[in-house]
Protein backbone atom coordinates (compact mmCIF):
# COMPACT_ATOMS: atom_id res chain seq x y z
CA UNK A 1 0.00 0.00 0.00
CA UNK A 2 1.18 3.51 -0.83
CA UNK A 3 0.02 6.33 1.39
CA UNK A 4 0.83 9.89 0.41
CA UNK A 5 0.06 12.26 3.27
CA UNK A 6 -0.06 16.05 2.92
CA UNK A 7 2.96 16.31 0.64
CA UNK A 8 4.05 19.82 -0.34
CA UNK A 9 6.81 20.83 -2.74
CA UNK A 10 7.98 24.24 -3.93
CA UNK A 11 10.31 24.98 -6.82
CA UNK A 12 11.75 28.53 -6.70
CA UNK A 13 8.71 29.78 -4.81
CA UNK A 14 6.26 28.07 -7.16
CA UNK A 15 4.01 25.62 -5.35
CA UNK A 16 3.90 22.39 -7.36
CA UNK A 17 2.39 20.09 -4.75
CA UNK A 18 0.21 21.59 -2.05
CA UNK A 19 -0.63 19.28 0.87
CA UNK A 20 -1.45 16.48 -1.53
CA UNK A 21 -2.88 13.28 -0.05
CA UNK A 22 -3.60 10.03 -1.91
CA UNK A 23 -3.97 6.40 -0.89
CA UNK A 24 -3.31 3.49 -3.25
CA UNK A 25 -4.29 0.00 -2.15
CA UNK A 26 -2.19 -3.10 -2.78
CA UNK A 27 -2.78 -4.57 -6.25
CA UNK A 28 -4.67 -1.51 -7.42
CA UNK A 29 -3.93 0.44 -10.59
CA UNK A 30 -4.28 4.14 -9.87
CA UNK A 31 -4.21 6.58 -12.75
CA UNK A 32 -3.23 10.15 -11.96
CA UNK A 33 -4.57 12.53 -14.57
CA UNK A 34 -3.90 16.22 -15.02
CA UNK A 35 -2.61 18.80 -17.46
CA UNK A 36 0.99 18.79 -18.67
CA UNK A 37 3.23 20.46 -16.12
CA UNK A 38 0.78 20.17 -13.23
CA UNK A 39 3.20 18.12 -11.12
CA UNK A 40 2.31 14.52 -11.99
CA UNK A 41 5.88 13.49 -12.78
CA UNK A 42 7.09 15.40 -9.72
CA UNK A 43 4.75 13.29 -7.61
CA UNK A 44 6.17 10.08 -9.11
CA UNK A 45 9.72 11.26 -8.40
CA UNK A 46 8.72 11.79 -4.77
CA UNK A 47 7.42 8.23 -4.55
CA UNK A 48 10.74 6.76 -5.77
CA UNK A 49 12.68 9.12 -3.52
CA UNK A 50 14.48 11.07 -6.29
CA UNK A 51 12.89 14.24 -4.92
CA UNK A 52 12.28 15.01 -1.26
CA UNK A 53 9.11 16.80 -0.17
CA UNK A 54 9.28 20.09 1.72
CA UNK A 55 6.75 18.62 4.13
CA UNK A 56 4.52 15.56 4.37
CA UNK A 57 4.98 11.79 4.30
CA UNK A 58 5.15 9.14 1.60
CA UNK A 59 4.62 5.79 3.26
CA UNK A 60 5.27 2.57 1.32
CA UNK A 61 4.72 -0.68 3.25
CA UNK A 62 5.03 1.18 6.56
CA UNK A 63 8.27 3.02 5.68
CA UNK A 64 8.34 6.80 5.23
CA UNK A 65 10.44 7.32 2.09
CA UNK A 66 11.95 10.77 2.91
CA UNK A 67 13.24 9.45 6.26
CA UNK A 68 15.12 6.47 4.85
CA UNK A 69 18.91 6.35 4.56
CA UNK A 70 20.56 5.38 1.28
CA UNK A 71 20.68 1.65 2.01
CA UNK A 72 17.06 1.43 3.15
CA UNK A 73 15.93 3.52 0.19
CA UNK A 74 17.77 1.22 -2.22
CA UNK A 75 16.05 -1.78 -0.64
CA UNK A 76 12.66 -0.12 -1.26
CA UNK A 77 13.70 0.81 -4.80
CA UNK A 78 14.41 -2.82 -5.59
CA UNK A 79 10.69 -3.45 -5.02
CA UNK A 80 9.79 -0.57 -7.34
CA UNK A 81 9.95 -0.39 -11.10
CA UNK A 82 9.68 2.89 -12.93
CA UNK A 83 8.96 3.42 -16.61
CA UNK A 84 10.12 6.86 -17.73
CA UNK A 85 8.38 9.01 -20.31
CA UNK A 86 11.07 8.72 -22.97
CA UNK A 87 12.16 5.26 -21.85
CA UNK A 88 15.42 6.58 -20.33
CA UNK A 89 17.28 3.54 -21.65
CA UNK A 90 21.06 3.66 -21.12
CA UNK A 91 22.32 4.19 -24.65
CA UNK A 92 25.80 2.92 -23.90
CA UNK A 93 24.36 -0.56 -23.24
CA UNK A 94 22.52 -3.14 -25.32
CA UNK A 95 18.83 -3.84 -24.76
CA UNK A 96 19.73 -6.98 -22.79
CA UNK A 97 22.13 -5.11 -20.50
CA UNK A 98 19.50 -2.43 -19.98
CA UNK A 99 16.81 -4.91 -19.04
CA UNK A 100 19.12 -6.88 -16.73
CA UNK A 101 20.74 -3.78 -15.19
CA UNK A 102 19.06 -4.09 -11.78
CA UNK A 103 19.95 -7.78 -11.52
CA UNK A 104 23.54 -7.30 -12.72
CA UNK A 105 24.17 -4.49 -10.24
CA UNK A 106 22.42 -5.87 -7.18
CA UNK A 107 21.19 -9.44 -7.26
CA UNK A 108 24.36 -11.25 -8.35
CA UNK A 109 22.37 -14.03 -10.06
CA UNK A 110 24.14 -16.65 -12.18
CA UNK A 111 24.71 -15.79 -15.82
CA UNK A 112 22.24 -18.41 -16.95
CA UNK A 113 19.50 -17.14 -14.68
CA UNK A 114 20.26 -13.57 -15.72
CA UNK A 115 19.81 -14.40 -19.40
CA UNK A 116 16.60 -16.29 -18.62
CA UNK A 117 15.17 -13.40 -16.63
CA UNK A 118 16.07 -10.90 -19.37
CA UNK A 119 14.40 -13.07 -22.01
CA UNK A 120 11.35 -13.60 -19.83
CA UNK A 121 10.95 -9.85 -19.26
CA UNK A 122 11.40 -9.06 -22.96
CA UNK A 123 8.92 -11.77 -23.99
CA UNK A 124 6.36 -10.34 -21.55
CA UNK A 125 6.43 -7.10 -23.54
CA UNK A 126 6.36 -9.02 -26.86
CA UNK A 127 9.93 -8.24 -27.79
CA UNK A 128 11.57 -11.69 -27.60
CA UNK A 129 15.06 -11.98 -29.02
CA UNK A 130 16.14 -8.33 -29.27
CA UNK A 131 18.72 -8.53 -26.44
CA UNK A 132 21.62 -7.64 -28.69
CA UNK A 133 20.12 -4.56 -30.33
CA UNK A 134 21.11 -1.07 -29.18
CA UNK A 135 18.53 1.46 -27.90
CA UNK A 136 19.32 3.74 -30.88
CA UNK A 137 18.04 1.00 -33.21
CA UNK A 138 14.57 0.91 -31.58
CA UNK A 139 11.43 2.87 -32.40
CA UNK A 140 9.74 5.06 -29.76
CA UNK A 141 7.15 2.43 -28.92
CA UNK A 142 9.76 -0.32 -28.64
CA UNK A 143 11.86 1.87 -26.33
CA UNK A 144 8.88 2.29 -24.01
CA UNK A 145 8.28 -1.45 -23.98
CA UNK A 146 11.97 -2.18 -23.30
CA UNK A 147 11.78 0.35 -20.44
CA UNK A 148 8.81 -1.59 -19.13
CA UNK A 149 10.77 -4.85 -19.45
CA UNK A 150 13.62 -3.26 -17.46
CA UNK A 151 11.14 -2.27 -14.76
CA UNK A 152 9.58 -5.75 -14.48
CA UNK A 153 12.87 -7.68 -14.70
CA UNK A 154 13.57 -7.08 -11.00
CA UNK A 155 10.08 -8.49 -10.24
CA UNK A 156 8.80 -5.40 -8.48
CA UNK A 157 5.74 -5.12 -6.28
CA UNK A 158 4.97 -1.62 -7.49
CA UNK A 159 5.33 -0.22 -11.02
CA UNK A 160 5.21 3.50 -11.76
CA UNK A 161 4.49 4.63 -15.31
CA UNK A 162 5.26 8.18 -16.44
CA UNK A 163 3.06 8.93 -19.47
CA UNK A 164 3.37 5.45 -21.01
CA UNK A 165 1.30 6.22 -24.10
CA UNK A 166 2.58 9.72 -24.92
CA UNK A 167 4.34 10.05 -28.25
CA UNK A 168 3.45 6.65 -29.69
CA UNK A 169 0.95 5.80 -32.40
CA UNK A 170 -2.61 4.78 -31.34
CA UNK A 171 -2.04 1.09 -32.05
CA UNK A 172 1.15 0.95 -29.99
CA UNK A 173 -0.60 3.01 -27.31
CA UNK A 174 -3.36 0.43 -27.12
CA UNK A 175 -0.89 -2.44 -26.95
CA UNK A 176 0.90 -0.65 -24.08
CA UNK A 177 -2.44 -0.23 -22.29
CA UNK A 178 -3.13 -3.91 -22.76
CA UNK A 179 0.31 -4.71 -21.43
CA UNK A 180 -0.22 -2.60 -18.29
CA UNK A 181 -3.54 -4.35 -17.74
CA UNK A 182 -2.12 -7.83 -18.26
CA UNK A 183 0.88 -7.17 -15.97
CA UNK A 184 -1.58 -6.04 -13.34
CA UNK A 185 -3.60 -9.25 -13.77
CA UNK A 186 -0.62 -11.62 -14.10
CA UNK A 187 1.87 -10.21 -11.59
CA UNK A 188 -0.66 -8.63 -9.19
CA UNK A 189 1.48 -5.52 -8.96
CA UNK A 190 0.35 -2.19 -7.58
CA UNK A 191 0.61 0.38 -10.36
CA UNK A 192 0.56 4.14 -10.58
CA UNK A 193 0.09 5.53 -14.07
CA UNK A 194 0.56 9.20 -14.76
CA UNK A 195 -1.09 10.32 -17.98
CA UNK A 196 -3.21 12.91 -19.71
CA UNK A 197 -4.46 10.38 -22.26
CA UNK A 198 -8.04 9.78 -21.07
CA UNK A 199 -8.58 6.73 -23.29
CA UNK A 200 -5.62 5.06 -21.64
CA UNK A 201 -6.78 6.19 -18.19
CA UNK A 202 -10.20 4.55 -18.56
CA UNK A 203 -8.63 1.46 -20.05
CA UNK A 204 -6.05 0.66 -17.35
CA UNK A 205 -7.29 2.33 -14.18
CA UNK A 206 -9.09 0.78 -11.21
CA UNK A 207 -9.05 4.23 -9.72
CA UNK A 208 -8.59 7.67 -11.25
CA UNK A 209 -7.32 10.72 -9.39
CA UNK A 210 -7.19 14.19 -10.87
CA UNK A 211 -4.29 16.44 -9.94
CA UNK A 212 -5.03 20.16 -10.24
CA UNK A 213 -3.15 23.10 -8.72
CA UNK A 214 -1.02 20.84 -6.55
CA UNK A 215 -3.85 18.85 -5.07
CA UNK A 216 -6.07 15.85 -5.81
CA UNK A 217 -9.43 17.44 -6.58
CA UNK A 218 -11.33 14.26 -7.46
CA UNK A 219 -10.81 10.52 -7.13
CA UNK A 220 -12.91 7.48 -7.86
CA UNK A 221 -13.53 4.66 -10.30
CA UNK A 222 -13.50 5.55 -14.02
CA UNK A 223 -17.32 5.58 -13.96
CA UNK A 224 -17.45 7.90 -10.97
CA UNK A 225 -14.96 10.28 -12.58
CA UNK A 226 -16.95 10.29 -15.82
CA UNK A 227 -20.04 11.28 -13.88
CA UNK A 228 -18.24 13.84 -11.70
CA UNK A 229 -19.98 17.18 -11.37
CA UNK A 230 -16.79 19.16 -10.66
CA UNK A 231 -16.48 21.56 -13.63
CA UNK A 232 -12.65 21.29 -13.66
CA UNK A 233 -12.83 17.50 -13.95
CA UNK A 234 -15.57 17.76 -16.52
CA UNK A 235 -13.54 20.14 -18.69
CA UNK A 236 -10.41 18.00 -18.46
CA UNK A 237 -11.87 14.56 -19.15
CA UNK A 238 -13.90 15.88 -22.08
CA UNK A 239 -10.98 17.88 -23.44
CA UNK A 240 -12.84 21.17 -23.73
CA UNK A 241 -10.99 24.35 -24.69
CA UNK A 242 -13.33 26.49 -22.58
CA UNK A 243 -13.95 25.99 -18.90
CA UNK A 244 -12.65 26.79 -15.42
CA UNK A 245 -9.09 25.50 -16.07
CA UNK A 246 -8.44 27.78 -19.05
CA UNK A 247 -10.42 30.64 -17.52
CA UNK A 248 -8.08 30.66 -14.52
CA UNK A 249 -5.11 30.92 -16.85
CA UNK A 250 -6.75 33.76 -18.82
CA UNK A 251 -7.57 35.46 -15.54
CA UNK A 252 -3.90 35.36 -14.55
CA UNK A 253 -2.79 36.59 -17.96
CA UNK A 254 -4.87 39.73 -17.64
CA UNK A 255 -2.87 40.85 -14.63
Amino acid sequence: MIDIIKVSKNFNGHKVLDKLSLKIEKGQTCVIIGRSGCGKSVLLKHIVGILKPDSGKIVIEGQNIPDLNEKELDAVRMKLGMVFQGGALFDSMTVGENVGFGLIEHDHVSRRELLERIEEALCMVDLCGIENLWPAQLSGGMKKRVALARAICIRPEIILYDEPTTGVDPITADSINELIRSLHDKLKVTSIVVTHDMKSAYRVGDKLAMLYQGNIIAEGTPEEIQKAKNPVVHQFINGLAKGPITETIDHYREY
Binding site: V48, R77, L80, M82, L89, F101, E105, H106, I154
Partner: protein, 275 residues
Protein backbone atom coordinates in the same frame (compact mmCIF):
# COMPACT_ATOMS: atom_id res chain seq x y z
CA UNK B 1 17.31 71.09 -20.53
CA UNK B 2 16.63 69.94 -17.02
CA UNK B 3 14.75 66.93 -18.28
CA UNK B 4 17.58 65.96 -20.58
CA UNK B 5 20.04 66.11 -17.70
CA UNK B 6 17.77 64.00 -15.49
CA UNK B 7 17.17 61.38 -18.12
CA UNK B 8 20.93 61.10 -18.77
CA UNK B 9 21.56 60.66 -15.11
CA UNK B 10 18.98 57.97 -14.79
CA UNK B 11 20.52 56.17 -17.78
CA UNK B 12 23.88 56.20 -16.10
CA UNK B 13 22.35 55.10 -12.83
CA UNK B 14 20.58 52.27 -14.60
CA UNK B 15 23.73 51.14 -16.36
CA UNK B 16 25.70 51.30 -13.12
CA UNK B 17 23.12 49.41 -11.12
CA UNK B 18 22.90 46.80 -13.90
CA UNK B 19 26.69 46.46 -13.88
CA UNK B 20 26.84 45.97 -10.11
CA UNK B 21 23.87 43.62 -10.11
CA UNK B 22 25.41 41.47 -12.85
CA UNK B 23 28.77 41.56 -11.11
CA UNK B 24 27.20 40.52 -7.80
CA UNK B 25 25.19 37.79 -9.49
CA UNK B 26 28.25 36.32 -11.19
CA UNK B 27 30.19 36.34 -7.90
CA UNK B 28 27.28 34.65 -6.12
CA UNK B 29 27.04 32.15 -8.98
CA UNK B 30 30.73 31.35 -8.65
CA UNK B 31 30.47 30.91 -4.88
CA UNK B 32 27.47 28.66 -5.44
CA UNK B 33 29.47 26.67 -8.00
CA UNK B 34 32.40 26.26 -5.59
CA UNK B 35 30.03 25.08 -2.85
CA UNK B 36 28.41 22.53 -5.14
CA UNK B 37 31.79 21.36 -6.38
CA UNK B 38 33.09 20.96 -2.83
CA UNK B 39 29.99 18.94 -1.97
CA UNK B 40 30.47 16.66 -4.99
CA UNK B 41 34.18 16.23 -4.25
CA UNK B 42 33.39 15.36 -0.63
CA UNK B 43 30.90 12.72 -1.74
CA UNK B 44 33.48 11.40 -4.22
CA UNK B 45 36.01 10.88 -1.42
CA UNK B 46 33.38 9.08 0.64
CA UNK B 47 32.37 6.68 -2.14
CA UNK B 48 35.96 6.23 -3.31
CA UNK B 49 36.86 4.47 -0.08
CA UNK B 50 33.65 2.52 0.54
CA UNK B 51 33.02 -0.75 -1.32
CA UNK B 52 31.78 -2.05 -3.71
CA UNK B 53 34.34 -0.95 -6.32
CA UNK B 54 33.69 -1.46 -9.99
CA UNK B 55 37.09 -2.22 -11.53
CA UNK B 56 35.72 -2.81 -15.01
CA UNK B 57 34.20 0.65 -15.26
CA UNK B 58 37.40 2.25 -13.95
CA UNK B 59 39.46 0.42 -16.61
CA UNK B 60 36.99 1.39 -19.31
CA UNK B 61 37.20 5.06 -18.34
CA UNK B 62 41.00 4.85 -17.95
CA UNK B 63 41.23 3.53 -21.50
CA UNK B 64 39.04 6.37 -22.80
CA UNK B 65 40.88 9.06 -20.84
CA UNK B 66 44.41 7.68 -21.15
CA UNK B 67 45.04 5.34 -24.06
CA UNK B 68 42.66 7.11 -26.44
CA UNK B 69 44.33 10.47 -25.69
CA UNK B 70 47.83 9.22 -26.61
CA UNK B 71 47.57 10.44 -30.21
CA UNK B 72 46.68 14.05 -29.49
CA UNK B 73 49.05 14.27 -26.51
CA UNK B 74 51.90 12.94 -28.70
CA UNK B 75 51.25 15.48 -31.44
CA UNK B 76 50.84 18.46 -29.13
CA UNK B 77 53.88 17.69 -26.98
CA UNK B 78 56.07 16.94 -30.02
CA UNK B 79 55.19 20.34 -31.48
CA UNK B 80 55.71 22.03 -28.12
CA UNK B 81 59.17 20.42 -28.05
CA UNK B 82 59.96 21.78 -31.55
CA UNK B 83 58.63 25.25 -30.78
CA UNK B 84 60.29 25.54 -27.40
CA UNK B 85 63.67 24.45 -28.75
CA UNK B 86 63.50 26.96 -31.61
CA UNK B 87 62.31 29.84 -29.44
CA UNK B 88 65.02 29.17 -26.85
CA UNK B 89 67.63 28.83 -29.57
CA UNK B 90 66.74 32.33 -30.82
CA UNK B 91 68.05 33.87 -27.61
CA UNK B 92 70.73 31.32 -26.69
CA UNK B 93 72.45 31.70 -30.06
CA UNK B 94 72.71 35.44 -29.46
CA UNK B 95 74.66 34.87 -26.24
CA UNK B 96 76.47 31.80 -27.62
CA UNK B 97 75.07 29.32 -25.08
CA UNK B 98 73.26 26.79 -27.31
CA UNK B 99 74.17 23.95 -24.98
CA UNK B 100 71.80 25.28 -22.34
CA UNK B 101 68.82 24.81 -24.67
CA UNK B 102 68.61 21.15 -23.64
CA UNK B 103 68.66 21.96 -19.92
CA UNK B 104 66.10 24.75 -20.23
CA UNK B 105 63.73 22.65 -22.32
CA UNK B 106 64.01 19.70 -19.93
CA UNK B 107 63.31 21.76 -16.81
CA UNK B 108 60.45 23.78 -18.30
CA UNK B 109 58.80 20.77 -19.87
CA UNK B 110 58.99 18.50 -16.86
CA UNK B 111 58.11 21.11 -14.25
CA UNK B 112 55.54 23.18 -16.08
CA UNK B 113 54.68 22.82 -19.74
CA UNK B 114 54.19 19.04 -19.81
CA UNK B 115 51.73 18.92 -16.89
CA UNK B 116 49.72 22.00 -17.88
CA UNK B 117 49.54 21.38 -21.63
CA UNK B 118 48.55 17.74 -21.05
CA UNK B 119 45.90 18.76 -18.52
CA UNK B 120 44.43 21.35 -20.89
CA UNK B 121 44.40 18.92 -23.81
CA UNK B 122 42.71 16.25 -21.69
CA UNK B 123 40.23 18.81 -20.31
CA UNK B 124 39.24 19.74 -23.84
CA UNK B 125 39.11 16.21 -25.12
CA UNK B 126 37.92 14.08 -22.19
CA UNK B 127 36.29 16.65 -19.88
CA UNK B 128 34.06 18.02 -22.63
CA UNK B 129 33.04 14.48 -23.61
CA UNK B 130 32.15 13.67 -19.98
CA UNK B 131 29.89 16.73 -19.67
CA UNK B 132 28.24 16.12 -23.04
CA UNK B 133 27.63 12.42 -22.32
CA UNK B 134 26.43 12.77 -18.75
CA UNK B 135 24.52 15.97 -19.52
CA UNK B 136 22.57 14.10 -22.18
CA UNK B 137 21.95 11.33 -19.65
CA UNK B 138 20.60 13.97 -17.29
CA UNK B 139 18.16 15.52 -19.77
CA UNK B 140 16.93 12.13 -21.00
CA UNK B 141 16.26 11.04 -17.38
CA UNK B 142 18.88 8.26 -17.54
CA UNK B 143 20.42 9.51 -14.29
CA UNK B 144 17.00 9.37 -12.60
CA UNK B 145 16.60 5.88 -14.05
CA UNK B 146 19.89 4.85 -12.44
CA UNK B 147 18.60 6.04 -9.08
CA UNK B 148 15.32 4.17 -9.42
CA UNK B 149 17.37 1.04 -10.15
CA UNK B 150 18.98 1.55 -6.73
CA UNK B 151 22.29 2.67 -8.22
CA UNK B 152 23.97 5.79 -6.90
CA UNK B 153 24.95 7.99 -9.88
CA UNK B 154 28.03 9.33 -8.08
CA UNK B 155 29.33 5.86 -7.35
CA UNK B 156 28.40 4.52 -10.78
CA UNK B 157 29.28 7.46 -13.07
CA UNK B 158 31.53 9.91 -11.24
CA UNK B 159 33.92 7.70 -9.25
CA UNK B 160 35.26 5.73 -12.26
CA UNK B 161 35.89 9.00 -14.11
CA UNK B 162 37.58 10.68 -11.14
CA UNK B 163 39.85 7.69 -10.49
CA UNK B 164 40.62 7.17 -14.18
CA UNK B 165 41.56 10.81 -14.78
CA UNK B 166 43.57 11.16 -11.55
CA UNK B 167 45.57 8.03 -12.41
CA UNK B 168 45.91 8.56 -16.14
CA UNK B 169 46.89 12.23 -16.18
CA UNK B 170 50.26 11.69 -14.41
CA UNK B 171 51.06 8.84 -16.83
CA UNK B 172 50.07 10.90 -19.85
CA UNK B 173 52.17 13.79 -18.51
CA UNK B 174 55.21 11.55 -18.12
CA UNK B 175 54.70 10.42 -21.69
CA UNK B 176 54.26 14.03 -22.87
CA UNK B 177 57.52 15.03 -21.12
CA UNK B 178 59.41 12.30 -22.96
CA UNK B 179 57.88 13.14 -26.35
CA UNK B 180 58.44 16.88 -25.84
CA UNK B 181 62.10 16.37 -24.95
CA UNK B 182 62.43 14.10 -27.97
CA UNK B 183 60.96 16.84 -30.20
CA UNK B 184 63.45 19.34 -28.86
CA UNK B 185 66.24 16.75 -29.30
CA UNK B 186 65.36 16.41 -33.01
CA UNK B 187 65.61 20.17 -33.55
CA UNK B 188 68.82 20.59 -31.54
CA UNK B 189 70.65 17.61 -32.99
CA UNK B 190 69.54 17.77 -36.63
CA UNK B 191 69.01 21.50 -37.05
CA UNK B 192 71.23 23.32 -34.60
CA UNK B 193 74.15 20.90 -34.72
CA UNK B 194 74.40 20.03 -31.01
CA UNK B 195 75.83 16.53 -30.56
CA UNK B 196 73.40 13.84 -29.46
CA UNK B 197 75.55 12.81 -26.50
CA UNK B 198 75.88 16.33 -25.26
CA UNK B 199 72.14 16.90 -25.51
CA UNK B 200 71.30 13.78 -23.50
CA UNK B 201 73.87 14.64 -20.83
CA UNK B 202 72.69 18.22 -20.56
CA UNK B 203 69.11 16.99 -20.14
CA UNK B 204 69.75 14.42 -17.41
CA UNK B 205 72.30 16.52 -15.54
CA UNK B 206 69.79 19.23 -14.71
CA UNK B 207 66.74 17.10 -13.96
CA UNK B 208 66.33 16.17 -10.32
CA UNK B 209 63.80 13.81 -8.82
CA UNK B 210 61.98 16.74 -7.26
CA UNK B 211 61.39 18.27 -10.70
CA UNK B 212 59.66 15.14 -11.87
CA UNK B 213 57.80 14.79 -8.56
CA UNK B 214 56.46 18.34 -8.46
CA UNK B 215 55.45 18.07 -12.11
CA UNK B 216 53.53 14.84 -11.62
CA UNK B 217 51.91 15.45 -8.22
CA UNK B 218 49.94 18.42 -9.45
CA UNK B 219 48.54 16.45 -12.39
CA UNK B 220 46.74 14.15 -9.93
CA UNK B 221 44.83 17.23 -8.77
CA UNK B 222 44.35 18.47 -12.34
CA UNK B 223 42.71 15.10 -13.10
CA UNK B 224 40.46 15.48 -10.09
CA UNK B 225 39.49 19.00 -11.22
CA UNK B 226 38.70 17.90 -14.79
CA UNK B 227 36.52 14.99 -13.63
CA UNK B 228 34.62 16.76 -10.85
CA UNK B 229 33.94 20.01 -12.73
CA UNK B 230 32.79 18.12 -15.85
CA UNK B 231 30.49 15.86 -13.82
CA UNK B 232 29.16 18.75 -11.72
CA UNK B 233 28.19 20.73 -14.83
CA UNK B 234 26.58 17.62 -16.33
CA UNK B 235 24.43 17.02 -13.25
CA UNK B 236 23.23 20.64 -13.41
CA UNK B 237 22.17 20.65 -17.06
CA UNK B 238 18.76 22.19 -17.64
CA UNK B 239 16.76 22.09 -20.84
CA UNK B 240 17.60 20.03 -23.88
CA UNK B 241 20.39 20.03 -26.45
CA UNK B 242 21.08 23.73 -25.88
CA UNK B 243 21.51 23.14 -22.16
CA UNK B 244 24.00 20.34 -22.83
CA UNK B 245 25.97 22.63 -25.17
CA UNK B 246 26.08 25.45 -22.63
CA UNK B 247 27.09 23.08 -19.84
CA UNK B 248 29.92 21.67 -21.95
CA UNK B 249 31.25 25.16 -22.68
CA UNK B 250 30.97 26.12 -19.00
CA UNK B 251 32.73 22.93 -17.93
CA UNK B 252 35.69 23.47 -20.28
CA UNK B 253 36.05 27.17 -19.39
CA UNK B 254 35.84 26.54 -15.63
CA UNK B 255 38.23 23.59 -15.86
CA UNK B 256 40.80 25.69 -17.75
CA UNK B 257 40.58 28.50 -15.19
CA UNK B 258 40.78 26.12 -12.25
CA UNK B 259 43.74 24.21 -13.72
CA UNK B 260 45.73 27.41 -14.22
CA UNK B 261 44.77 28.65 -10.73
CA UNK B 262 45.71 25.30 -9.17
CA UNK B 263 48.98 25.33 -11.11
CA UNK B 264 49.78 28.77 -9.76
CA UNK B 265 49.06 27.54 -6.23
CA UNK B 266 51.19 24.39 -6.57
CA UNK B 267 54.08 26.24 -8.20
CA UNK B 268 54.17 28.68 -5.28
CA UNK B 269 53.79 25.86 -2.76
CA UNK B 270 56.58 23.72 -4.23
CA UNK B 271 58.80 26.76 -4.65
CA UNK B 272 58.74 27.28 -0.91
CA UNK B 273 58.70 23.60 0.15
CA UNK B 274 61.49 22.46 -2.20
CA UNK B 275 63.51 25.61 -2.83
Amino acid sequence: MKNWFLSKKSDIEEALSKFFLDFGRSILGFVYFLGGLANLTGQCFYYMFTPPFNKERIFEQAKRAGYDSLGIVSLVSLFIGFIYALQTAYFMQRIGSEIYIASLVAISLVRELGPVITALVVAGRVGAAITAEMGTMQVTEQIDALETLATNPIRYLVIPRVLALSLMLPLLTLYADVVGIFGSYLICVYKLGISSNMYIHATFDVLFRKDLFTGLVKTVFFGLIIATVSCYEAFNVEGGAEGVGQATTKAVVKTFIMIIAADCFFTALFYFIFP
